[in-house]
C-alpha cells in the first residue's frame, strides 16, 4: 500500500510540470500586455515599460519559465501582479473557505444522493422512486446560479431562515485562525456561537452546490444498485435467509458503491477548484472567486498558482478515492 501511494504521488510530478508548462504557454500567447492593463490606458508609456520590467515580462519566455519553476521549487508561487502579494499566501487565505464549502457540499451530496438512490433501487417503480428520479433530473438540469438565487429569494428573502451572504454574520467574529476552516477552528477554540453561525451560513450555498451532484449520485447509485441486486450472490444471500436489510447494506451496497465513489471523487475534486457561481452568488470568499478575478485581470502568477493548487487537490482526491476502493471491496489491494 505504502509503495503504491508513493508511486501515485510521484506520478503527480509530471502532471504538475505539464500543467505549469501548459498554463505558462497559454498565458503568454494571449495577446495581452498585463503591464498596460494594470497601469491603465491613461498611464504614460515609460511608466508601463518600467512596470513591465518590474513584472519580469521583459525577459525572454524561457527565462521567465525557468524563474517560475525555480521559485516553485522553493515553494514560491510568485507574486500576484494585481495585488503585489505572494500568490501562495493569497491561495492559503482563500482555499480554506472553498475546502469548507466543498466538504459540506460533498457531505450533503452523499447524504442526499446515496440513501435516496439505494431506496429508489430497492423500491423500484414506487412513488418514492418516481419522485426522487424527477428531483434527481431536476438537480442535474438546474443551473446553479438560478438555484442559488431562488434559494436566497425563498429562504433568505421571504422566510428569513438562512443568511445569504458570507461565512459569518457581521456580529459574530471569526474564530482564531488555526486551519482557516471556521467549523474546525470554532470547535478547537471552543467558539460554539461561531460554529453554529458558520454552519448556518454553509447550508444554503452547500445545498446549492450539492443539489446537482446529489442528482448525479442518486442516478448512479440507483442504477448500480439495480445492477447488483440482480446478481447471483444477492440471490444466494437472500436464499441463505439473511434479512433484506443485511442483504442490501452488506452485500449489495458495498459492491454498488464503487462507481458512485468514483463519481464522488470527481465531484469533490472539482469543487475544491472553487465553485465560481455559488461563491459569487453567496458572496463566499473562496478560491473560485480568486481564480476568476485573476483571469479577468490577466494576473498570470495568480492564474498559474490557482491551476496548480486545483490540479493538485483534484489529483489527491482521486488518489484517496482509489485507496477507498480497497476499503469498500477487500478484493482490491494495492501493492
Amino acid at each position: 500500500m505504502a509503495g503504491y501511494l508513493v508511486r501515485r504521488i510521484l506520478a503527480l510530478v509530471p502532471v504538475l510540470i505539464g500543467i505549469t508548462l501548459m498554463m505558462f504557454v497559454l498565458s503568454r500567447v494571449v495577446p495581452v500586455d498585463p503591464a498596460r492593463l494594470y497601469a491603465g490606458d491613461a498611464a504614460p508609456e515609460e511608466v508601463v515599460q518600467a512596470l513591465r520590467a518590474k513584472m519580469g515580462l521583459d525577459k525572454p519566455l524561457w527565462q521567465q519559465y525557468l524563474l517560475y519553476v525555480e521559485g516553485l521549487l522553493r515553494g514560491d508561487l510568485g507574486t500576484s501582479l494585481q495585488t503585489g502579494r505572494p500568490v501562495a499566501a493569497e491561495i492559503a487565505r482563500y482555499f480554506p473557505a472553498t475546502v469548507e464549502l466543498a466538504t459540506v457540499a460533498g457531505f450533503l451530496t452523499i447524504v442526499l444522493g446515496i440513501p435516496a438512490g439505494v431506496i429508489s433501487a430497492v423500491k423500484r417503480d414506487s412513488v418514492f422512486d418516481h419522485v426522487t428520479r424527477v428531483l434527481a433530473l431536476g438537480g442535474v438540469c438546474t443551473p446553479i446560479f438560478w438555484l442559488g438565487l431562488l434559494l436566497i429569494l425563498v429562504f433568505y428573502g421571504k422566510l428569513g431562515v438562512f443568511p445569504a451572504w458570507g461565512r459569518l454574520d457581521l456580529a459574530v467574529s471569526p474564530p482564531r485562525h488555526l486551519t482557516g476552516l471556521y467549523l474546525v477552528d470554532s470547535v478547537l477554540t471552543g467558539r460554539f456561537d461561531a460554529f453554529v453561525n458558520a454552519s448556518w451560513h454553509l447550508l444554503l450555498p452547500g445545498f446549492a452546490l450539492a443539489y446537482g451532484g446529489a442528482g448525479q449520485i442518486l442516478r448512479l447509485a440507483r442504477s448500480s444498485m439495480l445492477e447488483v441486486l440482480g446478481e447471483d450472490y444477492v440471490r444466494t444471500a437472500r436464499a441463505k435467509g439473511l434479512s433484506e436489510r443485511f442483504v442490501i447494506y452488506r452485500h449489495a451496497l458495498r459492491n454498488a458503491l464503487l462507481p458512485t465513489l468514483t463519481m464522488l471523487g470527481i465531484i469533490y475534486g472539482s469543487l475544491l477548484g472553487g465553485a465560481v457561481l455559488t461563491e459569487t452568488i453567496f458572496s463566499w470568499p473562496g478560491l473560485g472567486r480568486y481564480a476568476v478575478g485573476a483571469m479577468v485581470a490577466f494576473d498570470f502568477p495568480a492564474m498559474m498558482g490557482f491551476a496548480l493548487v486545483a490540479a493538485l487537490a483534484y489529483s489527491l482526491v482521486n488518489v484517496l478515492v482509489d485507496l477507498l476502493y480497497s476499503v469498500c471491496d477487500p478484493r482490491i489491494s494495492y501493492r
Binding site: D33, A43, A50, G84, R93, G166, D169, R289
Partner: protein, 522 residues
C-alpha cells in the same frame, strides 16, 4: 443501544434549539453606530499611493487626508490639511501652510516633513498611480520651510497641481508609523496594503479580502468628529443579493444595483435613491487613417446619426447623461451646448457629400465589460448604435472583445471604429483633454487625429491659473474637436446607489466616493 441513540438525538436537538439565538449573531449589546455598505467588488489595496480601483479609492479617501479638498459643487479646492496656500506670480512656487491641530491617528502631528515624505513616497514607490505626481513633482521640488510650511517648486506653471494634490495618490501618511512597519526599506509597502497610517476620520480596523473591510472612527481625529463608530463594506458581487440584503435590512447602502432593481426598490417605501453623473464618457472613436473616416463629412454623419435620446432613455434606462464633448458635467469646462440631436436628413446629405450615398460597411470593436456602474450589457448599446447607423447606410458589424485583448490593437491604431470609454483620474480636465486632443499623446495618436490649434490650446489651458480663462479654453477645444469629429461623444452614466431611509448625509461625489464623516444612521 437503541435507547442511547434516542437519548443522543434528543440531546442534539436540544443543543441546536439552545444555539438558535447564536445564529442571529449574539444577544443585545451596547449599540455602536454602524453603517453597512454592500460593494460589488473588493478593493485591490488600501495603500493610498498604490490604489487605482474605485473601492480602494473610496476607502482611502476616508482614511487619508490631503493638503486640499476638492469641492464638486464649486469645482474648486478648499483647505484641508493645508489651512491656506499662496502661489507666486509666475505660478511656479506654491506655499502651503498646514493646520496646526492636525494629528495622525497615532497622535503624531501632521507636519510639513510628513507631507513631503508622503508625496515622495508616492513618487519613489513607482506604483500604478505614481505618474500623477511624478509628471509635475520630483524629489527636489518639495521643500520643508518649517514644521507647518511646505513649498512646492514647479518647472512650469501647472494648473492641475491642486487637483492632483487633492487626489488619494497625494494622501498624507504617518512616517513614524510606517517606519515601525517597514520591511527591507519598502516604505511600508507590504504593511500599508491592509493597514492604515492616516489622519482621516476613519482608520482601517480589518480587511478580509473578498469578504469585508471594516473602518472604525479615528478617536484622535482633529476635524469634525464622524457620527459613525464603524463602517463595514461587505463584498457582495451579486446585485440580486445586494437588493435582497437591502430589503431585509441587513445592509444600509447598496452600491452596485442594476437599474431595474433600483426602480423596484424605490417604488417601495423606506429607500432613498442617490445619484451623481459619472466623469467617464463613452464615445465612438473614428480612426482618421482609415478610408471612410478620412472624410470629415462621414465623421459628422456618424455624430448626427445617433439617437441619443433613445439610447439614454431606452437602453440605459435614463441612468445616463448625454455629453457633446469629452468633459463630463462635474468637470471644469463642461459644455452642454455641444450636445446634438439625431438629424437623419442632415446625415444623409453629409454622406452624399462624402461620396458615400449608399453607405459602407465597417466593424465596431467594443469592450466586453458591462456599462460602467449600470451592469447593462455593452451589446445593448452596440446594437442601438448599429441600428442608428444602419439608417444612413453604415453597416456596422459589432465585435465584442475583452479589454485585455482589445487594448493593444486599439492603442496601436489598428482599429478603424470603436466604442470606448476614458475618464479623468483627478478632478481636472487637463489629463483627459490631453489624451483626447494633444497630437503628441498616445490617446490622440491612435486615431491619427492632428490639430495643431487644439494642441496649443491644451498647453495654454494647462499653464493658465485663471479658472475662468481655462473654462473658455476648454469650451473652445471641445467645440473644435466636435467639428473635427474624430470622437462622437455619447454619454456619461450615473452613479446610482440605494440607501435605507434612516441613512443621513450619504452624498455621492464624483470619482465614485463618499465622505463618510458626514454620514449618520438614525
Amino acid at each position: 443501544m437503541r435507547k442511547v441513540r434516542v437519548l443522543l438525538s434528543v440531546c442534539l436537538v436540544l443543543l441546536l434549539i439552545a444555539a438558535l439565538p447564536a445564529c442571529k449573531g449574539g444577544g443585545p449589546q451596547s449599540k455602536p453606530k454602524v453603517l453597512r455598505v454592500a460593494i460589488g467588488a473588493d478593493a485591490v489595496t488600501l495603500d493610498p499611493h498604490d490604489t487605482v480601483d474605485f473601492k480602494g479609492l473610496m476607502v482611502a479617501n476616508n482614511v487619508y487626508e490631503r493638503l486640499v479638498k476638492y469641492d464638486p459643487k464649486t469645482n474648486s479646492f478648499k483647505p484641508w490639511l493645508a489651512k491656506s496656500w499662496e502661489v507666486s506670480g509666475d505660478g511656479l512656487k506654491w506655499t502651503f501652510h498646514l493646520n496646526e491641530p492636525a494629528r495622525f491617528a497615532s497622535g503624531n502631528p501632521v507636519t510639513a516633513e510628513a507631507v513631503k515624505y508622503s508625496l515622495l513616497r508616492g513618487i519613489k514607490q513607482k506604483m500604478f498611480p505614481s505618474w500623477m505626481l511624478s509628471q509635475c513633482i520630483d524629489e527636489n521640488a518639495v521643500q520643508v520651510v518649517d514644521q507647518q510650511t511646505l513649498q512646492i517648486t514647479l518647472a512650469k506653471p501647472y494648473a492641475p497641481l491642486l487637483a492632483i494634490l487633492s487626489s488619494v495618490v497625494a494622501g498624507v501618511v504617518d512616517p513614524k508609523v510606517i517606519a515601525e512597519h517597514e520591511q527591507n526599506g519598502d516604505m511600508g509597502k507590504t504593511w500599508l496594503k491592509d493597514h492604515s497610517a492616516g489622519s482621516g476620520p476613519f482608520m482601517v480596523e480589518s480587511w478580509q479580502p473578498k469578504d469585508r473591510i471594516v473602518l472604525v472612527r479615528n478617536p484622535k481625529f482633529w476635524g469634525q468628529a464622524p457620527k459613525l463608530d464603524q463602517v463595514v463594506f461587505l463584498v457582495v458581487p451579486e446585485a440580486s443579493s445586494q437588493a435582497a440584503m437591502l430589503e431585509k435590512g441587513d445592509i444600509d447602502v447598496a452600491q452596485d444595483l442594476l437599474p431595474d432593481q433600483v426602480e423596484q426598490l424605490v417604488a417601495k417605501s423606506g429607500f432613498q435613491k442617490l445619484e451623481m453623473p459619472d466623469t467617464v464618457p463613452y464615445y465612438l472613436a473614428m480612426n482618421l487613417a482609415f478610408e471612410p473616416f478620412k472624410k470629415k463629412e462621414v465623421r459628422q454623419a456618424v455624430r448626427y446619426a445617433i439617437d441619443y435620446n433613445g439610447l439614454i432613455q431606452n437602453v440605459l434606462k435614463a441612468y445616463a447623461v448625454q455629453v457633446g464633448g469629452i468633459l463630463a458635467p462635474s468637470l471644469l469646462g463642461y459644455d452642454p451646448g455641444l450636445c446634438v440631436k439625431q438629424d437623419v436628413a442632415k446625415t444623409k446629405e453629409l454622406m452624399r457629400q462624402a461620396g458615400y450615398p449608399d453607405g459602407f460597411s465597417v466593424t465596431m470593436h467594443y469592450q466586453s465589460a458591462p456599462i460602467k456602474g449600470l451592469g447593462i450589457p455593452p451589446e445593448n448599446v452596440a446594437v442601438k448604435i448599429q441600428s442608428d447607423l444602419a439608417q444612413i447606410g453604415i453597416r456596422v458589424e459589432p465585435i465584442k472583445q475583452d479589454v485585455g485583448t482589445l487594448l493593444e490593437p486599439y492603442r496601436s491604431g489598428k482599429i478603424p471604429f470603436a466604442m470606448w470609454m476614458w475618464g479623468p483620474v483627478y478632478p481636472d480636465p487637463d489629463n483627459i483633454v490631453t489624451s483626447h486632443g494633444d497630437e503628441n499623446h498616445g490617446g490622440t495618436k491612435r486615431l491619427s487625429y492632428v490639430n495643431h490649434e487644439v494642441t496649443e490650446l491644451i498647453e495654454k489651458a494647462r499653464r493658465s491659473l485663471d479658472p475662468a480663462e481655462r473654462v473658455q479654453l476648454y469650451k473652445k477645444i471641445q467645440a473644435i474637436e466636435a467639428d473635427d469629429g474624430a470622437w462622437a461623444w455619447l454619454f456619461v452614466t450615473k452613479n446610482v446607489q440605494l440607501a435605507r431611509a434612516n441613512v443621513k448625509g450619504y452624498e455621492l461625489i464624483p470619482y465614485w466616493t463618499v465622505d463618510l464623516y458626514r454620514v449618520d444612521v438614525q
